[in-house]
């Protein structure tokens, strides 16, 4: 297993309730694993726990066991072992800038340089990562002059340049326009053939098209786990505020579960 969580509960330092409650999950290598739920369900905290950032950076108390790539990432030894092997993309791009780069290429090179790679390898990784997000033309631009969407793609490139084994994507398309958001989601299945992608989002209309598995959280607890059709098509997902627009419309129209999640699925269902 790439990631294994066993009976994990987590509480932030100043919070009165647990952000995660008794979570037991496994993530196999490869594939797009979608983690969703209404806002505050604990999806982002789950990603931080997998990366070891909760509690290492956030503070707080964690109970249970998290094993990422064979190590507990919250320990000193585990952090060293997973450094650069777990990439995290947060929703707001400008808070993820290193503050040390005057060009996009330097920003992308920040992570590989921190890992002590050879300069030639860094240059190659930067070129490849910028090509991946189609931003080669902006390599010389000051990151501070880019739009939110361009900046988010730069940060994605910065994560990709480190060639992590696990991509933790927290609302990756929040700052992107619809076309760029669609492009990012379309790119994920190809990425997931080589890497493990754990995607936390409420943008389910797009995410459902690429996810092979859905973990549904409510108030920090896993309430369902399985393939998208069975999890997001269930009435429980509608009640938890986590399903697609098509499924919500179908439910209001009186359809029974499993609800269709996409327009083609709805057409097929109602055409019968």
């Amino acid at each position: 297993m790439t990631v294994r969580l066993e009976a994990v509960s987590f509480r932030y330092p100043t919070a009165g309730v647990d952000a995660l409650r008794d979570v037991t999950l496994e993530f196999a290598p490869g594939g797009v694993h979608l983690v969703t739920g209404r806002l505050g369900a604990g999806c982002s905290t789950l990603l931080l726990a997998i990366a070891g950032l909760a509690p290492h950076v956030t503070g707080g108390t964690r109970l249970g066991s998290v094993i990422t790539l064979g190590q507990d990432p919250a320990t000193e030894e585990g952090r060293g072992a997973v450094a650069g092997r777990v990439g995290l993309l947060l929703p707001t791009p400008w808070t993820q800038l290193s503050g040390m780069a005057h060009t996009v290429a330097e920003e992308v090179a920040f992570g590989p340089a921190n890992l002590g790679w050879e300069r030639e390898r860094i240059r190659g990784a930067v070129r490849e990562a910028l090509r991946l997000v189609d931003l080669e033309d902006l390599a010389g631009r000051d990151p501070g002059t880019l739009s939110g969407g361009e900046l988010q793609r730069v940060i994605f490139a910065a994560v990709a340049a480190m060639d992590p084994d696990i991509y933790l994507l927290d609302e990756p398309a929040m700052e992107l326009d619809p076309e760029a958001a669609g492009a990012m989601y379309r790119f994920l299945p190809a990425l997931a053939r080589r890497k493990t992608v754990i995607l936390a989002t409420t943008d389910l209309d797009r995410a459902v098209l690429v996810a092979g598995r859905v973990v549904l959280l409510d108030a920090g607890h896993v309430i369902d786990d399985g393939d998208p059709a069975s999890v997001l098509g269930a009435l429980r997902a509608v009640e938890a505020g986590a399903t697609t627009t098509v499924a919500r419309i179908a439910q209001r129209a009186g359809a029974q579960s499993p609800l269709p999640l996409t327009v083609p699925a709805a057409v097929a269902r109602f055409a019968r």
């Binding site: 290193s98 780069a101 340089a113 921190n114 790679w117 480190m162």
Partner: protein
């Protein structure tokens, strides 16, 4: 007015980052060691020459804009009310010299090069990053303040007019600025950690700054100047 790094290839841009940092530290000490108003005045003059030679005239305008309120305030308090224009000029000169040299540092030293230079000297990454990020924070806060100001004006905040009205307008600007900056700290820490900033591996310098003999000589000369000025002040 730009407070951040200004791309260029002038004298200061070519210098080793620690040479410019030493210049900033030395000028800050000399501003207080040298008797005013002549000493700080000479420092400001010297910095003007350096700025022009380094192709950074814009920094002088920024410095003048930031120094002007201090000059006005000090001349009013010490000069007009206290009758001591020399003290007013000395204090204002010190502030102008320190402001100017730090603006030159900010404008000519790329933060990445500064970190690389400090790492070359064996400083831990965390400390080097903290110093460089502090310099970078100024332009970032400036950009954020401009955005907040624009948003608040759209919502009817009036920032012009009497001194009292301007003072009152500071609160709706400062509160979101400070709170927003504090909120960003958490996310930035998360992002930096996953991008290897806490890694124990030695960071690769992308373009390691060259420490030429001229740089080393300049640093020794600057340090000798401080020592010389201190000895002179003790003896006189």
């Amino acid at each position: 007015m730009t407070l951040g790094y200004l791309p260029g290839s002038g004298l200061l841009h070519r210098s080793h980052p620690l040479t410019t940092a030493t210049l900033a530290a030395v000028v800050s000490v000399l501003a207080f060691l040298l008797p005013g108003p002549a000493g700080p005045g000479m420092l400001v003059l010297a910095l003007c020459v350096i700025a022009v030679a380094a192709g950074m005239r814009r920094v002088l305008l920024t410095s003048a804009a930031f120094s002007a309120p201090f000059w006005a305030f000090l001349i009013l308090i010490h000069g007009v009310i206290g009758g001591d224009f020399a003290t007013a000029a000395a204090l204002a000169g010190r502030i102008t010299a320190i402001l100017t040299v730090f603006l030159l540092l900010l404008g000519s030293v790329h933060p990445g090069r500064l970190v690389d230079a400090m790492l070359q000297r064996g400083l831990p990454f965390g400390l080097a990053y903290l110093l460089a990020a502090t310099l970078q924070a100024v332009p970032q806060l400036q950009q954020r303040a401009a955005a907040i100001l624009a948003a608040q004006r759209c919502r009817g905040l009036r920032v012009g007019g009497s001194l009292w009205r301007r003072a009152r307008a500071v609160v709706p600007l400062a509160v979101p600025l400070v709170l927003g900056a504090l909120a960003e700290v958490d996310e930035r820490a998360l992002a930096l950690e996953t991008r290897g900033a806490g890694s124990e591996t030695r960071r690769t310098a992308l373009e390691p700054p060259l420490d030429r003999p001229g740089d080393r000589a300049a640093r020794w000369l600057l340090l000798a100047t401080v020592v010389g000025a201190a000895v002179w002040r003790l003896l006189t």
